[in-house]
Structure formats: C-alpha cells, structure tokens
Symmetry: C2
Subunit: 355 residues, 2 copies
Amino acid sequence: MHDYDGAVTQVTNPGAATVPARRGRGEKSSPTIYDIAKLAGVNPSTVSRALSKPGRVSAKTQKIIEDAAEQLNYRVNPFARALPTGRTQTIGLIVADITNPTFFDIIRGAETTGSARDYTMVLAESAESPETELTAARRMLSTVDGLILASPRMDDEQIRALASEKPVAVINREVDGVPCVVPDVNKGISQAVRSLAANGHQKLAYVAGPPQSWMSRRRWEGVQAACDWYKLEAVRLESSKPTVDGGRQVARDVLASGATAVITYNDLLAIGLMQELQAAGMRVPDQISIVGFDDIFGADFTTPALTTVRSPLGECGSRAAALLLDMLLGHEGPGGVVRVDTELVVRGSSGRLLA
Amino acid sequence: MHDYDGAVTQVTNPGAATVPARRGRGEKSSPTIYDIAKLAGVNPSTVSRALSKPGRVSAKTQKIIEDAAEQLNYRVNPFARALPTGRTQTIGLIVADITNPTFFDIIRGAETTGSARDYTMVLAESAESPETELTAARRMLSTVDGLILASPRMDDEQIRALASEKPVAVINREVDGVPCVVPDVNKGISQAVRSLAANGHQKLAYVAGPPQSWMSRRRWEGVQAACDWYKLEAVRLESSKPTVDGGRQVARDVLASGATAVITYNDLLAIGLMQELQAAGMRVPDQISIVGFDDIFGADFTTPALTTVRSPLGECGSRAAALLLDMLLGHEGPGGVVRVDTELVVRGSSGRLLA
DNA sequence: CAAAAGATGGCAACCGGTTGACATACCGCC
DNA sequence: GGCGGTATGTCAACCGGTTGCCATCTTTTG
C-alpha cells in the first residue's frame, strides 16, 4: 500500500518538472518499470520482482529500486499487470436493487473492507431480475478478481457455475459449495415472537417478499417455527413487491386476516403497512403490532419508530468482502456458511394488545 | 468502523467445495482474436479491425469474422484493449459518504445511464475528507475513462487539475471550466420561504452543513436572498455534522435563536432536529416549521412527514454520466453548468404558526 | 579447498489487442 | 494495356508488466 502523495500542495506550473515528457501526444505519461530500471541501473524484470515479489531480490537492490520508484512517483499500470496475470485488484458487487436501503450498508461494508485492502469495488444492479443479474455477473466476471452477490435471484446452479470460474461470495442466501454470509434469523425471530406472545397476541401474519427470495422463505420458516413453539397461529400473506408501496397494498389483507401482529419480510413493507393502517384509523401498537426486518436506514424515522429484527448488514458486506479477499490470497476458505447474529430491536411499533 | 465481536457462529461445511480449477495452461481459457482469425482464415489484425473499426474491412470479411466471433462466444479482453489504448469502458464515481442516502439516487442515476451505454461504474468514498477524496481520485484516474465527483470537498484547483488529465464531471457544485450538474436551489428556496412567510413566520434559521460544502454556502445565500425579498429575518446556525445526529445537537441552538421556522442544509439534519424538538415537547409545525433539503429516501417516514426542497438527485447522477460519456465520445462539451430544477415538496412539517 | 546448494539478477517470451506502414487486389479510365 | 487511386488485408512493433529458465555469484558444507 504505497501512499505517495501525503499532503499535496500542487502549485508550480506543469512543465517545470524534470520529468522527461516523451510519449506521442506530448502528454506526460506515467513512468514505467523501464524508467525505474534505467534510473536504478538494473533490469526491468528485477524491478518487477522488487515491487511485487517481496524477498525475491536482495535488500540492497530492493532499496535502490524503491527509492527510484518513489522518486519517479511510480504507480503500476493495472492493465499491464492484469493482462498476463489476470489479477485486477478489483471485486465486483451485484445487488438486487440499488435504491433499496437494505443494500446501502452492504455496499458500504464491502467497499470499506475492500478499499482497506487496496481493492477497488465495482458495482452493478440486477433490478431484481435473474436474467439481468446473470448478464451483469458474466460481464463483470472477466474484469474482477472475485464477485459478491447480495441477495442473488439466480438459481443455485448458475451461482455455482460462476463460482467455478472465479471466487464468489454470497450474502443473504445459502448456496451449497459457495461461501455465504447469512444472518441467522432464528434468534431475532424468536425474540420477536416471544415478545409478541408475551404481549397478548395470538394470531400473527407474515408478509412475504419476492417469491424468488431465499431469505423470504427462510424467514417464513423461522416465523412458523417460533409461532409453533410459542403457541401462536401464523398466517402467510403475499406482497406484490418488497417496497413501501407493496406494504401499503397489503394492508387490507392484513386486516382481513384478523391477525393482531405482523412480521414483514423487510422494513420497507413494514413502513408502508404501518402508514396505510394508520391512515385507516388503526392505532399502532395498541390495536396492531408491526415488526420489520433488517433495521434499515430510516426505520427509526417513523412514529412510532419501527420495531425490527436487525441484520448486521454492514457486517455482512464487510465479511463477505473479507471472505473473498482471503480466498484470493489463497487462504482457501472451506466454502462454508458464516452466520451472523440477528437481534430484535424493540421500538414503538410493537407492544401490548389493547383489545 | 465495523468490529466483529464474538457474536458470530461459524457453522456448517456442506460438501467440501471443490476449488475452482485454476486457469492452467491447456485449460479452457476464453477465446482471443487469434482464435477467431484462425477460424475465419484471416489475420488477427483484420479481426481487430472488423470488431472495432466499422467500415475498415469489407462487408464480406466482416460477416465471416462476426460469425466466427459469435460461434466462439468471443468477448474482448478489456485489459488487453486498455493497455495500448487507455480506453477502459469504465467511469469512476466518488461520493462524500456512502451511507448518506442523498448519494444513493446519484449513484443509481449514474450507474443506470452508464451501464446503458456499456460503461461499468466503479465507486469510491471520500468520507467527507478532502485528502481521502484526492487520493481516491488519483488512484481511480489511471483506471477509468472519466470521473464523476459528487459534492466534492477538494478545492477548485485540485478539481481542475484532475479535469486536465481525464474528463471530469461535477455534481452539486460549480467549478469554472469543468462541466457541472447543479440543482438550481433558488426556485425551491423561494417557494419555501414564500410559503413560510405566508404562514406567519418572521424569523428563520438556516442550519448549515459542512464548511467545505459549496452547496451549503449556496443554499445559505439563497435563503438570505429569499428572506430579504419576503422580509424575513434570517440567521445562520452551524451544525457539527450533516447527519441525523448533527440535527439533534443543533436543536438547542435553534430554540435559542428564537426562529419559528428552520431550513436545514439537508434532510438528515431536519429529521434529527425534528426528533429532538419533538422530544423536548415542541409541536411541529404548530410551534415551529421545519424544511429540509433533497427529499431523500425516508423523508416521508416521519410524523409529520418532512417538507423539503427536492433536488432531482437521480437526474443529477444521470446527467453527469451522460455529460461525461459525451465528452468521451468527443462531443466536446462546453464545460458549462447544467442546472436542474428544484421544487418545494410540502408535507406536514411546515405550516401556519400558531403563536 | 572443492563441490553442492542457494541467492540474485538478466534474458526473452509471453498476455491479447491496436495501429501505422505497406503490399496487393481491384477498379475505372484514358 | 497501362496507370493512378482506393479498398482491403498483412506484418510487425508496440502497450507495461510477469515469470520460467538460465548464468553468476555467494554461501554453506563435507
């Protein structure tokens, strides 16, 4: 990790510099290892080794070359390096929907740990479509060292196919044979259902997410299991789309279901649902409790603030990136599943049922 | 930043993942123009021309080559192309803060128009620091065809220096000689101040953003001008940081100022401020009106929903990308300023003053 | 002190496209 | 038929690193 420009106070006019301006267009092109080699009086290949294969050259030569590199303000040309090696110092991240705040934290987590290790992140969006996703993934695959798929919509086979070409890490879904980072929903769901049961609720509705969503199914299973245990009746409702708007639309189904507590696939649905129910005169949480999922940005903006099962999304992004980078460095991960804990964040939207 | 405390359970290891086959020597590597050349019975350079210089080869040969390429499922190696040409089909985007939802629409706008024209986007964050920003910009510069700076914190000179090396577009700030996309705040501010004046307010506070923020200054100027016109008294307050938390912290200053209406540098500040004021027993908007800026995701989650001056951020991102791509195609943009309209979105947080 | 082992640097062949220079092939035209 | 001109394809030299192989030089060891 070279940091050549400390506090740069670029002032003087360009051209005063002693840098020999060669190169066709008269532009000052950046120095190459050949320039360094000339300056240091060694062979270019030695420069290459000094700069990328620690220990391969003697300490003395190493020093000379590093000084020369410093002096010329050298930085490797990523393309020239990528060409023979395939290494690009770049990881790709594909998310289902850039505007969905669920992914904000994931993106940031991945970007942060990526750039901490000097990897650049490239971002693409699948717009919730398996086909777009696959296309984006394929297009990326040739230009990145590894790929992170957040909540992928492709099927397992396609993911494994990708993973057989380049290292892949998956977030929010389990795929056999591919390293995954998955929030373990059971803990958070248990807490949520227990809390609801303790507050007098007896019938609970789960508002599901997109049918292709592995995580939505998983959450439903968790809800069922917990309801079983705590002796609540659970019903499942479908949403048209996992957004605020979808939440509003599902409000009448919720009312019709007779449930007094609702757990939604994500916070957006919960927020939309709450808005619509309140607009219809329902009091939250006195008449109905609402629990979301993920604890996204804005979940505490609502009145009452949203009770939600928090998934540490930033950590998911971050760990997925770390997993990937470890694989790239050869620390072959076992391809297992990393589970991160979820927990209930109790705010105002859930509570005692005042029947 | 993120710390992974022990709340992590590493579990299952489903079927030992088979290590991806290293791209060995005889392995199925992707086809090259040489493969196409052999198949089509022509010289590699002819293939190169057929694929990138339309019209340079005869229609007949063109067809043969395209068919061969199709048959082999050929795709260019971006690095091999980038090496001699410098063209990378990639644009960089640097934002001040990835977690700030303001930027999400920008990111999305840029990504969408970028990928529509077959450009990949790479993303970096400056963490609101001019130095980090410059470093990131420099690092990116060598690997992208052009750069978009969203709300840059560097000074004008540095930006112009970057712009002299590669095409640069700026969002949310005007820099002489560099193409910029800037929401024209005056319209929205006028509407806001007029509306506040009409509702009986006489003293207005502006909560400023980061000192380096060009846009914050601009908004303050706009507020001053509008207050002048509508005969309101305007005071300026400083915030510690442009976040929800910063908004909470500035609440006491707001109260102390005696203003009955507040316009904040951005929505996050407005939301935090409103939360804190409400917690202190103030009624919004009966006792104090609050107007934010940007209309970010979640601005309508609050109770009352936030009145805000909407900047079309997605459009900003999109237009900046378009500007950049046009420059890359040689349509030399005049380096002027593109202004997009802002408008007041009236929701519940502003209204008549019930003194 | 000689031989074997190890460390170090140089040479040159790539990686996969791009492109200027040049040789033909092809065309129309006098 | 010969000539100039253009269309088309080929050759070869890059772009800037990486790396296998080999020649030396140094060190260790018997």
